[in-house]
């Protein structure tokens, strides 16, 4: 129990640290965006005082306030979900995020889910036929695909399936001229638009299948498997409750970490496919020197990773009874 509280405390601490860091970067570094903003905008305004107010709207920081008060206000705003206002999009950052995040989540969760599902199934089959032609062929394939960076694959898919063959759209995230909502054409349409980005993230399946293969082979050699066979358990029970469960368990944390890192991948991928998700806005923000939006996406991604890891840690104990208790048999 205590351990959980401690773990949550750590997560909260990390988030606060990231927010503080963003404050330091925006406000305290020499040549920081707030000062730059005031210096740039101030002279153009009739009332220079207004520059400070604008800085406050956009970046949640009033440069006139003493540092510690500015910090407290900034943190309070951020924690309440007010991430300032984007200059390039001219809309509240929070609103932009709220609109963009579902799309990113949609693509990324599909990519992660499919990647792991395919990887685990392939890995299990490879382990089952360990040493066969099937195994070596797939191992070769998996090793190759793992070593390709996903954005290279993305560009390749975009070139071939998108531009040359024209099977899939080369940009955008939803069909045109279809009513938005839970209707079939719209649903199909968004899946259609998401296909190429999802396929590009498929490279992760290679790594997953190799891990799964290794884990399964290891479990197959465990003593408890031999005992289970001697005990006369059915092949099905052994395959599912003994091999699969023990082989997948160690990958669970990996899955959560993958979800976290996928957000990073989203930045590049959404840019390549002009997919208007969070990553897309992040790049836009960098181009337009839109600090509020940049910091907003940055914090959201960080928090997402922290939360994914927190969930992984907290739920791991539920599925693996060994978690949290160290082995103290020998010292």
């Amino acid at each position: 129990m205590n351990w959980k509280i401690r773990r949550i405390g750590q997560a909260v601490f990390t988030v606060l640290a990231v927010l503080t860091l963003s404050f330091v970067m925006i406000r305290m570094m020499p040549g920081n965006p707030v000062d730059a903003f005031v210096a740039r905008v101030g002279p153009q305004l009739e009332n220079p005082q207004e520059a400070y107010e604008r800085a406050e709207t956009y970046m949640n920081i009033n440069p006139q306030e003493p540092m510690h008060i500015a910090y407290v206000n900034y943190m309070a705003d951020m924690i309440q979900g007010d991430m300032g206002r984007s200059m390039s999009q001219n809309a509240p950052v929070a609103a932009i995020m709220a609109e963009a995040i579902p799309w990113t989540l949609f693509v990324m969760s599909w990519a992660v889910f499919l990647g792991f599902a395919v990887g685990i199934s392939l890995g299990a089959l490879m382990a089952y036929w360990e040493g066969s032609k099937f195994d070596s062929a797939l191992t070769g394939y998996a090793t190759t695909i793992t070593s390709i960076p996903f954005y290279v694959l993305a560009l390749f898919l975009l070139m071939t399936l998108g531009y040359q063959l024209g099977w899939f759209p080369t940009g955008g995230r939803r069909p045109e001229g279809v009513a938005v909502g839970f209707n079939l054409p719209f649903m199909m349409g968004i899946i259609y638009h998401a296909t190429l980005p999802v396929l590009s993230m498929f490279v992760a399946s290679g790594a997953a299948s190799l891990t799964m293969r290794g884990n399964s082979v290891r479990v197959l050699g465990e003593d408890y498997l031999r005992v289970a066979r001697l005990r006369g358990l059915s092949d099905r029970t052994i395959a599912i409750r003994y091999v699969a469960r023990n082989a997948i368990l160690p990958m669970y944390t990996g899955l959560m970490i993958a979800i976290g890192t996928m957000f990073g991948g989203a930045v590049v991928l959404e840019e390549i496919f002009s997919y208007r998700g969070m990553g897309y806005y992040m790049i836009q923000a960098v181009r337009a020197r839109d600090y509020p939006l940049m910091m907003g996406t940055f914090t959201v991604i960080t928090i997402a990773v922290v939360i994914a890891l927190l969930i992984a840690d907290l739920t791991y104990g539920k599925i693996d009874p060994r978690a949290g208790s160290e082995d103290r048999e020998a010292f």
């Binding site: 003593d223 408890y224 005990r231 409750r241 060994r322 020998a330 010292f331």
Partner: protein, 714 residues
């Protein structure tokens, strides 16, 4: 020499055979040729007997076990006949069963407990699920089955509720082993095959389990096949003993007969090589040579390359079973000669005068530990750490002196802190309390907060030989390079030639010949025994004053152990070093300590409870715990086996050790005062023999004698 070859197996009275092996072989196809890991053996298991099968590693004993259930691991192939005769009903040919029939046969008729008991359970399922699964896979009534499981668990001195609700990792090794035995009996099989079931456990636990087996066997009408490398362990349990050598049986017969009149040269050699507590040390002899490779089993008698009696006949023809007494078969052409000559063949005495521990004790100590404490685990550390205090005290206030040219052997169950104490003594573990002095200098002086010693000289003086020699040698370096390093570092005055001479000399000294050939090898080209010797030489070349040898012989085969121990003793004497041995085996401890006039120290839950000369600790232990260890060390040919002199089998949790005398939870002599007061060392030695014991019973005057005995709740 004309010996008639009587067909021994038919000379038997009408017997009630439950499993019969005829011409059974197990083969593995390998690149180098076919590997025959069981070579055409015939064997009969009688109903309701306990038969002990003795074999060293690589004798084919595990294959023998698996063959009885036709459960040889892939891709091994079992040939020949394996016949199972149920009490009522037709004999079953196990090798001809269909997959489904085999699935039912195993565990319902014959079940098996094998070596890997520590990992025999699915780590993500609780124990109850293991029982339920097994019962339902065989269509047994689950409720009745669980009832039986509870009964079995309590017969094995386990708390059924606690066990069933636990996950495997929550149980100690000894508990897991007993739970596995219960699991193997839950379907009421006729036969239980046990392959090294206790090998990974402490002696006290092994012995307790073995003594429970007999009761279990009586209660449940079992036939037990107990396979082990440890002859003394089964000697008094088994009705019959069978000795496996090189994938064949060398000798089979009633236990007493085998122990008192072993007929096969190998059995005789094995008995001589087995360290024990009572036999004169001069009679313990290692067996020369190594077991054969299963790809290349020698023609004729497979023991002939190592046998002192071998002749033409042995090389040419396979020795069939000769009748060496009632129900006693031996596979040796010259068994009669063996009975007469073999002891002579090994007799050879060596006399060496050692200063006894009592005399050494007047000198200045070489290394002196005073009130050493080692605590592991984190206490609360920092403001984000809400965790509770989880510390384990591994060593709790131990004071000990090691003298020049001294040998001290620490014994105790695993988790008693003997390894930690050993490492602390040689500066590999920083104590959390107390001090360690090397020639009156604090060894941690000047090292700041680091975990390594500051003083070069002390670092050189204190060395360790690792438990696993293979892993301590750099696999990318040749033996020459490995051995040159310490010389270069500690003896820079030697030039290349001198170094070479020194290394070759050492190799030759420890019996690695030809040394010129060996220095060019890599560690993986050496056998386990050779690696161990190289590791030992490397340490000796540093010229240390004290060497810590942690379980240095327990990984070796029985037949090699005595040889290795002799070598260490010889080196200790030749190099004038002191040794601190760590062992969980009292017979090894006795061998080492008695031969060198050293001491044995007994540890329990982080404390030293008794220390004394080998003679005293073995012949006249004062502390009740030492007595229990003494009981746990089986004796060859010792008939009377009393009940365990302990009240509970399992060791208390080291995280929460008992108050007062830490042994009071298990001590049969414990009285009320033991639960609150902690006994100090009492000197019970005399001028010639050292012995100190931490128990109130060693004092004539103590409130202990007026205190009430602890009510026994078991």
């Amino acid at each position: 020499m004309t010996l008639s070859r009587s067909d021994a197996s038919t000379a038997r009275p009408a017997d009630d055979v439950v499993i019969e092996l005829r011409d059974t072989s197990v083969e593995y196809g390998m690149d180098r040729g076919t590997s025959k890991v069981l070579n055409e053996v015939d064997f009969e298991v009688q109903r309701d007997e306990i038969v002990g099968v003795i074999g060293e590693s690589g004798s084919g004993k595990s294959m023998f076990a698996s063959a009885m259930l036709d459960a040889v691991p892939e891709p091994g192939v079992t040939t020949g006949e394996v016949i199972y005769r149920p009490e009522d009903g037709e004999p079953v040919s196990v090798t001809d069963l269909s997959k489904e029939e085999l699935r039912r046969f195993r565990w319902e008729e014959v079940s098996m407990v094998f070596q890997g008991a520590m990992s025999s359970f699915n780590p993500v399922m609780d124990i109850r699920t293991h029982f339920v699964e097994t019962l339902s896979a065989h269509d047994y009534d689950v409720d009745r089955g669980i009832e039986r499981a509870r009964e079995l668990l309590s017969d094995l001195y386990l708390d059924p509720d606690r066990m069933l609700d636990s996950y495997p990792h929550e149980l100690s090794g000894g508990m897991k082993q007993r739970v596995l035995i219960a699991l193997s009996l839950v379907l009421e099989p006729e036969v239980l095959v046990m392959d090294e079931p206790t090998a990974a456990l402490d002696l006290l636990m092994q012995r307790s389990i073995v003594s429970l087996l007999e009761e279990i066997k009586e209660k449940h009408d079992l036939t037990i096949v107990f396979i082990t490398h440890d002859l003394p362990l089964v000697a008094d349990l088994a009705d019959r003993l069978a000795v496996l050598y090189a994938f064949e049986f060398a000798e089979v017969g009633p236990s007493e007969d085998i122990l008192e009149n072993p007929a096969h040269p190998y059995t005789r050699a094995l008995l001589n090589a087995t360290p024990n507590l009572s036999a004169p040390l001069e009679e313990m002899r290692p067996i020369e040579g190594e077991s054969p490779d299963p790809v290349n089993i020698p023609d004729g008698c497979s023991y002939h390359p190592r046998c002192p009696l071998s002749d033409e006949q042995c090389v040419e023809s396979d020795p069939g079973p000769y009748d060496a007494g009632p129900e006693h078969d031996v596979h040796c052409h010259h068994w009669e000669q063996s009975v007469e000559d073999i002891d002579v063949a090994f007799a050879e005495t060596d006399e060496r005068a050692f200063t006894s521990a009592a005399e050494k004790a007047v000198d200045e100590p070489l290394v002196s530990l005073s009130d050493v404490e080692v605590t592991f685990g984190s206490e609360n550390d920092g403001w984000l750490d809400f965790g509770e205090d989880e510390t384990v005290s591994a060593v709790d206030g131990v004071s000990l002196d090691v003298y020049e040219n001294d040998v001290l052997v620490l014994v105790g169950e695993s988790g008693c802190g003997k390894t930690t104490l050993g490492k602390t003594a040689v500066g590999l573990q920083r104590p959390t309390g107390g001090s360690i002095e090397y020639r009156q200098r604090d060894i941690w002086e000047g090292s700041g907060g680091t975990s390594s010693l500051a003083d070069e000289e002390i670092r050189r003086a204190l060395q360790i030989v690792h438990q696993d020699p293979g892993s301590s040698l750099n696999s990318h370096q040749r033996v020459r390079t490995i051995l040159e390093q310490p010389l270069k570092r500690w003896h820079p005055e030697l030039d290349g030639n001198d170094r070479r001479e020194r290394i070759l000399g050492m190799l030759e000294y420890v019996g690695i010949t030809p040394p010129e050939d060996y220095v060019e090898r890599y560690p993986h080209q050496l056998s386990g025994g050779e690696q161990q010797r190289i590791a030992l030489i490397r340490t000796m070349l540093i010229n240390p004053d004290l060497i810590l040898a942690d379980e240095a012989v327990s990984a070796l085969d029985v037949s090699l152990r005595v040889g290795m121990m002799d070598l260490m003793i010889e080196l200790q004497d030749a190099f004038d070093t002191s040794f601190l041995f760590i062992s969980h085996d009292l017979s090894n401890a006795r061998y080492l300590a008695e031969k060198t006039g050293g001491r044995i120290g007994v540890m329990y839950l982080g404390r030293l409870v008794e220390v004394g000369s080998a003679e005293r600790i073995i012949q006249n232990p004062q502390h009740p715990y030492t007595k229990a260890l003494r009981w746990a060390t089986p004796e060859l040919g010792e008939e009377a086996r009393e009940d365990p002199p302990i009240r509970t089998i399992d060791i208390p949790d080291a995280q929460d050790p008992p108050s007062g005398c830490r042994y009071h939870t298990r001590c049969p002599e414990a009285r009320e005062v033991c639960t609150t007061e902690s006994p100090e060392f009492v000197d019970v030695g005399d001028e010639t023999q050292i012995q100190r014991s931490a128990c109130f019973r060693a004092l004539d005057e103590h409130p202990y004698w007026q205190s009430d005995p602890i009510a026994d709740d078991s």
